[in-house]
């Protein structure tokens, strides 16, 4: 999995925040909020309100857990993982909905759709239209650079299922882009 690279040396602020320094934590918030919110926003299907709730929650939980942070990884990576886990928990809660309007059956079963160029905004919008689990796999694998093993572990599915979801989700994404072009 690719972490959240910031290139910034935030070690002092992390240590200060772990000791209760709110100003240091605010600096960490300013440094990382864009990266965290970007990932969560795409996982939440471009839902601004939900993404902001999840981002806020991630920082609250980070503050609470900071005293236990062992510096084994970069703070940005740790925070990113915490935020993505929250977003995936949200998807699990929603994806398990037996009466969901957007279900996995909407994905195409077979056939190839040609790759097509798309504007960035259009691509973002079509990703937001994917069913939640399929969207999670596309976002984590194709955008965030996770491996199938990591995705399968986090989403509680087999590695093969993750690969199949990605294949079908890409087909649907290309179909959605094709329909709009």
């Amino acid at each position: 999995m690719s972490p959240a690279p910031t290139g910034a040396n935030d070690t002092d602020d992390v240590r200060a925040a772990a000791n209760g320094d709110r100003a240091a934590f605010q600096r960490l918030y300013r440094l990382h909020v864009g990266r965290i919110h970007g990932a969560v926003f795409r996982l939440a299907g471009n839902d601004h309100a939900r993404a902001e709730d999840l981002t806020q929650d991630a920082f609250i939980r980070a503050w609470q857990k900071l005293p236990g942070f062992r510096h084994e990884s970069a703070f940005g990576t740790w925070l990113y993982r915490l935020a993505v886990n929250l977003a995936l928990m949200d998807i699990r809660a929603r994806g398990a909905d037996p009466v969901s309007t957007r279900n996995e059956e909407e994905l195409p079963e077979s056939g190839e759709t040609p790759f097509c160029a798309a504007e960035r905004d259009e691509l973002e919008r079509c990703i937001g239209l994917l069913p939640p689990r399929a969207r999670a796999v596309v976002v984590l694998h194709d955008i965030e650079g996770w491996r199938h093993e990591e995705i399968a572990g986090e989403l509680g599915m087999a590695v093969g299922t993750s690969k199949a979801q990605l294949h079908r989700a890409r087909l649907l994404l290309r179909k959605l882009l094709g329909d709009r072009s």
């Binding site: 806020q56 928990m89 809660a93 037996p98």
Partner: protein
């Protein structure tokens, strides 16, 4: 467009995105609320070094022991009530195999959320998710009842 370009285009989406509003004030408010709850509700009545300190501490300890003893006695005398975890809602599994999977997953999600709420008891987002999950469990029960 080949697959390589397609993947590059997707990877390029990985950009920071600022929220539409500054979340910092809300975060601080939540942290303050959590801190207030964590603070001891009972103010310090005695100061260390005060001659009454030991006496009052001993009295408080005795009261706590008495209360704990009474609680244990009450539990021994009263038949055990079903806990939330052992309630029929938590253990319920529909006979229809098509619904059983959803019931298991919803139950797992609910337990996961309850654990998360224990870590962050003031999280409105988690509470909303838990409420929604419980509502979905209720809907699943209704669906199972209708299906017979």
């Amino acid at each position: 467009m080949n697959e390589f370009e397609w993947r590059r285009q997707l990877r390029d989406l990985r950009q920071p995105l600022a929220p539409t509003r500054d979340l910092w004030d809300s975060i601080v408010a939540s942290l303050d609320a959590a801190q207030r709850t964590d603070d001891p509700a009972i103010p310090t009545l005695v100061q260390p070094g005060n001659p009454w300190h030991r006496l009052m501490t001993a009295g408080l300890a005795a009261s706590l022991l008495l209360a704990a003893g009474a609680l244990v006695w009450h539990q021994v005398r009263t038949p055990a009530a079903p806990t939330f975890a052992s309630s029929t809602q938590a253990r319920w599994k529909p006979a229809d195999p098509r619904l059983a999977g959803a019931a298991i997953e919803l139950d797992a999600a609910r337990m996961e959320l309850q654990l998360a709420i224990q870590q962050a008891p003031h999280s409105a987002a988690l509470q909303r998710l838990l409420d929604r999950t419980e509502l979905q469990q209720k809907q699943l029960r209704q669906l199972a009842n209708r299906a017979g």
